[in-house]
Symmetry: C2
Subunit: 170 residues, 2 copies
DNA sequence: TATTGTTATACTCTATAACTATA
DNA sequence: TATAGTTATAGAGTATAACAATA
């Protein structure tokens, strides 16, 4: 296993700056080749999502909103009267994980629960004035962030990217 | 049953102004409008990633590989001698979270640790014959899954999607 | 002094079973 | 019998601080 194969680094570009270290031993990896993973949709989608969400977390911290809370509030804002069950279906959440979230948003005065007109088991969720005001700002911040994240893409590419992603999960 | 249905719902197409929509009573939501979230990259990337990974989990269960284990093994397979630190950098993992993973893969006889040729602190990670055999199958399964997931996309669209995603996180 | 690998640990996220009250 | 909301809890995933050995 000593000096058999040269390094695996035959990545897209040839090594631009050979360091002062000899490159003959096959046991040393200089440039990690991740091309196989980069050919997989799941890997790329996950890496991209995490990169976006990392910045999202920072920008939404002033509003005290994590991604899930932002999503829930946004759906309630645009669908006043929506039920918990509908939220779970729309956002792919599990009911038990939504309970604490709803209670927290209610305790913060951002949403309110009203009896459902036709179903005694359910509640309609509505944004409060405070919740509306917060989300107007939060959604504007999200759109600003969006523009930054997609800076390197043309408008056509941005539209294409979103459409193709939706073809995967919708 | 139908007392009054001032629903907020329409098909997701005709209304060109998603924001600033005059909602009157809106106590009953028939179709949940998620168009705002669907305009955000992070939301779409995350939903797509979760959809892909859900099937990935099922297909990789026979190999006993979760996504992270698959990624780690794949990088080791294509970069024999890679160190833990390099794995962390390449896959955006934190060192403490990799320790147990490496130990587990080693205990399963899929990888082996060898002293690093030039750095006494580090170990070079190598796939065993068993690990290679497993990953040849696992990567083939991943590629089959990939073809299924991207079924609705043309070859050009597939290439475009991966390239655009990499523009986000690379 | 900085870095690699490691331990311990805490916090978040996600998943499952089971209960209640209504339909 | 089925569904909406809830409770409790377990498991996976992710995070930080701190330490020993080596550079």
């Amino acid at each position: 296993m000593a000096t058999r194969r040269t390094a695996v680094s035959k990545s897209a570009k040839p090594d631009p700056s050979p360091l002062s270290r000899p490159v003959e031993s096959g046991d040393i990896v200089e440039v990690v080749d991740t091309r196989f993973l980069q050919s997989l949709l799941g890997y790329n989608a996950r890496r991209a999502a995490l990169a976006v969400i990392e910045v999202f977390l920072q920008r939404m911290a002033p509003y005290g909103l994590r991604p899930v809370e932002f999503s829930v509030l946004s759906v309630i804002l645009h669908n006043p009267g929506v039920t918990s069950r509908q939220l779970c279906t729309a956002l792919n959440l599990l009911p038990p994980n939504l309970v604490g979230l709803i209670q927290d948003l209610q305790a913060r005065g951002l949403i309110s629960k009203h009896p459902h007109p036709h179903d005694g088991r359910a509640f309609g969720l509505h944004p409060t004035a405070q919740g509306k005001a917060l989300m107007v700002q939060a959604e504007a911040t999200a759109q600003t962030l969006e523009a930054e994240q997609l800076e390197r893409l043309t408008p056509a590419q941005r539209k294409t990217l979103l459409q193709l992603l939706q073809k995967i999960y919708l």
